[in-house]
Structures are given as C-alpha cells and as structure tokens.
C-alpha cells in the first residue's frame, strides 16, 4: 500500500485532526476571551478567567501553526489557493489573532488601559472564532475557481449565507467550549454564571448545528450513503445529551468533555462531506482542488509522515503533562505567582 494515494489520504486525516485539535483546544481559549464581558462581571472575575487560559493558550495556538505548515507541506496548492484567494479575510484573521495574543499580557502590565485590552481580547477572540468557520464553510461549500486553481471570486463571495451559517455554528461551538472551560476552572458565583451561560449556549449550539447538518445533507446528496455522517450526527447528539445532563448535575469536569464531543461531531460531518476534496469549485466542479491534484510528491509525504507520526504523540504527551501541572481551579492572582 506504499502508493501516493495512501499518503494523500493519510495527510487529509492528519490535517483534519490538527484542525480539529486546534478548534477544541484554542476553542476554549477563544471562547473564554469572547465571553469575557458575559462571564466576567468584576475585575477579579476577569483576572480569574484570563489566568485560567494564560499558561496554555500559547501552546494551543501552535496547533493552528502546525496545521498551516502541514497543509503547506502536504497540499501546497490548497494552502496557496485559500490563503491568497481569501486574502482580506485572512488578514482579518491575523489582526484578530495578533490582538488576542498580546491583549492578555498587555492588560496585566498596563492596568490603566485594561478596558481597552479587554475589548481587544473580546474582539480578537470573537473575530477569529467566527472567521475560521466562514473560511471552512467556503472551502466545503465551494468557491469559484479558474482552471489554474486560482480563486475567481471576491470578498463578498465569501459572505454567502451557507458559509456564514458555518461561521455561526463554529462560533457557538467555540463559545460553548469557553463556557465549559470556565465551569471547569472557576469557582463560586463566576462558575454559577458559567453554568447559566452554558445552558443558553447549548440551545444556540443545537439549533445552529442542526441547521448545519441539514445544509450539509441537502447540499451533498452522497452523504446519505456515508456512515461517517450518521456517526457524526450521533456523536454531536451524545455530546448534547451529556452536556444537558452534566449542566443539570453540576459536575464541573463533565461539560468540557461533552462540549468537545459535540464539536467533534461537527468536524466529522465536515470530513464526511469533504473527503477527498480540499477546495470545491462552485463554478466548474472539475477545477476543484482534491487531495489527488494538490499534493506534494510521495517522498515529501513520506518524510512528513515520519515527522508527524513520531512527533505528534510526543507533543500530546508533554501537553497533557503541562495541563496536569495547572489542573484545579484558577485564581485571580495566577499571574506570576511564586
């Protein structure tokens, strides 16, 4: 089975896992950042919320950087087409991520302008979370391409209703991750508020996600014959039920796992719809990018497989180690304690 198709398929799955991993991990960071005004009433609440993601968000963002690198290395045409084609949107993503990154540190060091940096954190987190979903919605739903794999639409093309629905669905999933993380990492009135917010978000998430599943099923008739799609919907359903139960029974550790499960269902459905496509062409289907016409050579894919399959388990191992170091409830003075 040492054929190039095997490795092309493998890298579709690995990039899928990197993106899904990114969305679950940085998802709760972005969610906490976006929910800051809702969950954090007092300055102390906000300190606690930011302290809960402070030690881990950096590492979480590397999942995105690695996914980007892996896309470049395995499917450079998809990387080139999407990043250059969606240029203004990509720039907005970058600006959002820049402000999200610096705002937490700046806020801690610059208390007199803390309000500004909180706004930067909120807008950066919201913007990035929403735009990622819109971008993925576009490559799945399809965009106009030319015969040389170049994007042939404009900025408005990216804002069609279906990609916007994907954006909203992703945003709800991210917000839910954030609320679930806040439940896990905080205490007292702040945690109670996170429970109430999570309940509201759960319903928003269910409605948006059901619309998302329905649009996928109607758009791609082949999904009817793909078991993975049914599994995906099932996984989300189990996640929602778990969330509902754990929010009622108030067991702080459960909602994050359940929320992650429901998020994973969205990803599995996207994967079921997308394989083996990378960027669908909405005008001429044959001009679309697939794992077969967009990949690097067999040798590159093999080298990458060695690096990725040997390296990522180690990364996951020490990531778990560090999360365990910071387990337990976050404290408002978590910055530089010691």
């Amino acid at each position: 089975m040492e054929t190039i198709e095997t490795f092309q398929g493998l890298w579709f799955v690995l990039i899928f896992l990197l993106l899904a991993g990114y969305s679950l991990l940085d998802g709760f960071d972005l969610g906490v950042g976006a929910l800051l005004p809702v969950l954090g009433r007092s300055a102390e609440d906000k300190d606690t919320l930011i302290a809960s993601i402070g030690p881990v968000w950096d590492g979480n963002e590397v999942w995105l950087i690695t996914a980007g690198g892996a896309l470049f290395a395995a499917f450079p045409h998809a990387y080139a087409t999407a990043f250059s084609g969606f240029y203004p949107a990509m720039m907005l993503v970058l600006f959002a991520l820049i402000f999200r990154a610096v705002s937490m540190e700046f806020r801690a060091l610059d208390p007199s302008r803390a309000g500004w940096w909180e706004k930067a954190l909120i807008c950066g987190s919201l913007g990035a979370a929403f735009l990622f979903g819109v971008a993925l919605g576009n490559i799945i739903y399809g965009v106009p391409l030319d015969e040389h794999m170049e994007y042939a639409g404009d900025f408005i093309t990216l804002l069609r209703p279906v990609p916007l629905l994907f954006g909203i669905t992703g945003l709800f999933a991210v917000l839910l991750q954030g609320a679930a993380w806040a439940i896990l990492k905080t205490d007292g009135a702040l945690r109670d508020r996170a429970y109430r917010v999570a309940f509201v978000l759960l319903w928003g998430n269910v409605i948006a996600s059901l619309a998302y599943f329905a649009v996928l099923a109607f758009t791609f008739s082949e999904l009817a014959g793909r078991p993975l799609f049914y599994i995906a919907v099932g996984v989300s359903l189990v996640g929602w039920m778990g969330l509902h139960l754990s929010l009622r029974s108030r067991r702080d550790g459960r909602p994050l796992a359940a929320s992650s499960l429901s998020f994973l269902g969205l990803w599995l459905a996207a994967g079921a719809a997308q394989f083996p496509h990378l960027i669908r062409a909405s005008n001429v289907p044959d001009w679309g990018l697939t794992i077969f016409n967009s990949s690097t050579g067999l040798y590159t894919l093999q080298v990458m497989s060695v690096i990725g399959l040997a390296g990522m388990p180690v990364v996951i191992g020490y990531t778990i180690f560090v999360y365990r170091l910071f387990k337990g409830k976050a404290k408002a003075d978590g910055h530089y304690d010691g």
Binding site: G54, P55, V56, D58, G59, E61, V62, L64, I65, T66, G68, G69, F72, A73, F75, P76, H77, Y79, A80, A82, F83, S84, G85, Y87, M90, M91, V93, L94, F95, L97, I98, F99, A101, V102, M104, E105, F106, L109, D110, E150, A152, T296, G297, Y299, T300, V303, M304, I307, G308, G311, V315, Y318, V322, L325, F326, G334, H335, Y336, D337, G338
Partner: protein, 435 residues
Amino acid sequence: MDALLLARIQFAFTIGFHILFPMMTLGTSLVILISETLYLVKKEETYRRITDFLARLLALVFVVGAASGIVMEFSFGTNWSGYSRAVGDIFGPLLAAEGVIAFFLESVFIGVLIFGRGRVSPRVYWMAALLVFVGGHLSAFWILVANSWMQTPAGYELDAAGKIVLASFREAVFNPSTVVRLLHTVLASWVTCAILISGIAGYYVRKGLHGEVAKTLLKIGILLFAVTPLLQLGAAHAHAIQVIDTQPVKAAAMEGHFETARGADVYVLGYVDETAEKTYGLAIPKGLSFLYNFDVNSEIRGLADYPKQEWPPLNLVFQSYHLMVTLGMLFIAAGLLGAFLLWRGKLYTSKAYLFILPFLIPLPHIAHEAGWVTAEVGRQPWIIYGLMKTSEAASVVVSKAEILFSLTMFGLIYSLLLVMFIVLFLRIVKTGPAA
C-alpha cells in the same frame, strides 16, 4: 508602485518587525537556563530572583514574537502563493517540522516558566527552562534551514514538468549555508541579549538598585558580552566565506567588488556608485583575498563576471553589510572592556562604562536587521538563488489595493505594538527583580 513591490515591502516590514522578538527570546532563554541551573546547584535566592525577573521580560517578548510570527507563516500563502505552489515539496515540510519538533515544545513549556514557579518543584522548573531553551533554538534551526534553502538550494531535482521536487531531505536540510547561518544567527541573538541584560543590570548597579541581584546579573551579562561577539567573529567569518563560495554575486555586492581579481581589496567603509560601476572608500589592499583564505593573492570573482540583471541593489547591500560589521567590531571592543573592568574589580564602580551600557541595547538590533537586509536583498533578484525569481513568486489574485490595505494595517498595528512593548518593557525594568 506595483503589487509585487508592495508585497515585498510588506514581507520586509513584517519580518523585520518579527525578528526583533525571537532575537531577544533565544538569548533570554539562555540566561534563564544559566541562572536557573545556578539556582538548582547553589540554592541561592539571587539566582531565583534573576530567573523570575527574566521570565517576566520573556513573557512580554515571547507574546509579541508569537503574535507577529503567525503572520509570517500565513504570508507564504497569502502573498507568495506562486512560491508556495512551486516549493511545497521542500519548504512546506521545513515549516511543518518547525511546528511539530520545535515551536510546540517552546510554547507549551513557556507557560510553565511564566506561571509555574509556585506550582512545580525546582527540578521541574529547571526542566521547563531547559525545554524552552531547546525548543526556541530548534525553532531557529528549522526557520533558518528554510531560509538557507532559499539561499543555497540543495537536495532537490526538477521533474519532467520542470517542477521542484524533493530528492534528499537530509541534503535539503543540511544545505551549504545551514550550519554557518544557524551559528551566526543564534550568536547574534546571544549578543543581543548579552547587551540587553548588561544594559539593564548596568543601569541598576549605577543607580545602586537591587543590590546583589543586579551585580550578579551584570556579571553574567558582561561575561556573555565578552565571549559571544568574539565567537560571532568566527561564525561571521565562516559565513562570509560560504557566501563567496556559494553566492558569489551577493558576496561581490557586499564588498562592492566589480572586477575579478587576484589580491582583491577590502573596503572598511565606502560608497558604491552603481552607474559608474565603481566603489570609492577606505580600502585595505589585498584584504579581501587575505580574509577569504589567508592568501593575499587568491582570486575573488567580481560583479562584472555576471549579467547585470542578476545583480542585487549594490549600495544597499554594501552599506548594510558594512554597518553590521562595524557594529560587530564595536561589540567586541565594548564586551572586552567590560570583561577587563570585571577582572580588575572595577566594573561595579566604573560610572562611565555603566552609563554607556544601556545606550548599547538598540545597537545589536540594528546590526541584525542590517545583516538580514544584506542576506535577503543580496539574494535578489532571486527568491530561490539561481532557481526562481522573486517576480515569479507573488500571489496572482491579490490586488494592489488589498496589499495597500493590509500593509497600512500592519503599519498601524505594529507601531502600536512596538510603542506598547517599549513602554511595558521599561515598566518591568523599572519594577525590577522582586524580593
């Protein structure tokens, strides 16, 4: 001004901004590793306070570096999609390897370094310091491999369709300029940080602040300041020889050297008249040939041997190279002077030397930016030396207006970040090492 030039300006601006921060991160992680090792061995509070102080600085430096770094990874796709399509086989794996093997390690453990002091044992904390150091330097390795491959491509072949494909990963990684470029750049970072902490600690000592902690930090800083520029002299020399051997046009531009000659002169300072094709200035006769292989009569190829359309902008490359070299010499002198004062027991009382130290802090940044201009402008008109022109690499679907928009935004955002960085950095310095 066309879209290509705007895209180049944007890349130069965004990477010129970004590089300021990794250059501080690497050196700082080294000093943290040194002080934390001393803390583990000697168990003296002084070293713990040094580590904690530097970890606060590192947190600020790292976050701006990470924020501006992700822009660079995106930029190959957003602005240089022609390049990305052409070199995905080789350049892509290098960026991906950087993520998997290096940046994860640095980013995950930096959280422990910044937030973990009260939570983990001294041993685990030391391990985090070590892993941040290792991760940061591995990051530098993979990024510099990627850059080196653009300068001296190796390990590739052209397939039947003329596409660049990977032939040997090992040869691509260890291409002719990888090792010397890595040494040169990492040492530049260590010099940058040696001067940074010497400047900060020098200020404290002169003002009589923070007692033993300031003196110990100054001692570490001055020892590094004495040693690293000297090591850099060796690495820089090896790098220059590699450029003469593998990128002769760039080397000739750096030296303003037009006619192939035996016994070529080296200019200490000067001016390259690009139209008259002549260099004026203060020259050491046969100096270039001597520096190349210690033979005053060795042959150095000149620009005239190569077609004019393959010349980079000559005076810019010449001047930035000479600025870097001049600053490097200044660092050697200033570092040795500090070591001499330390040896004679006069360092902590030498008001004049301590007064000057903080003013040196920006200079290594000017030096490494100048070095980067030398390397990258000197590579023009090629994006991959001898293989692909920069003009073939830009994204075809990105318009001039779009780049003008993004460039303006980067200009505004990065100005804000730089001002905030300096203000907050000074605030941390003013607070100083906590008791």
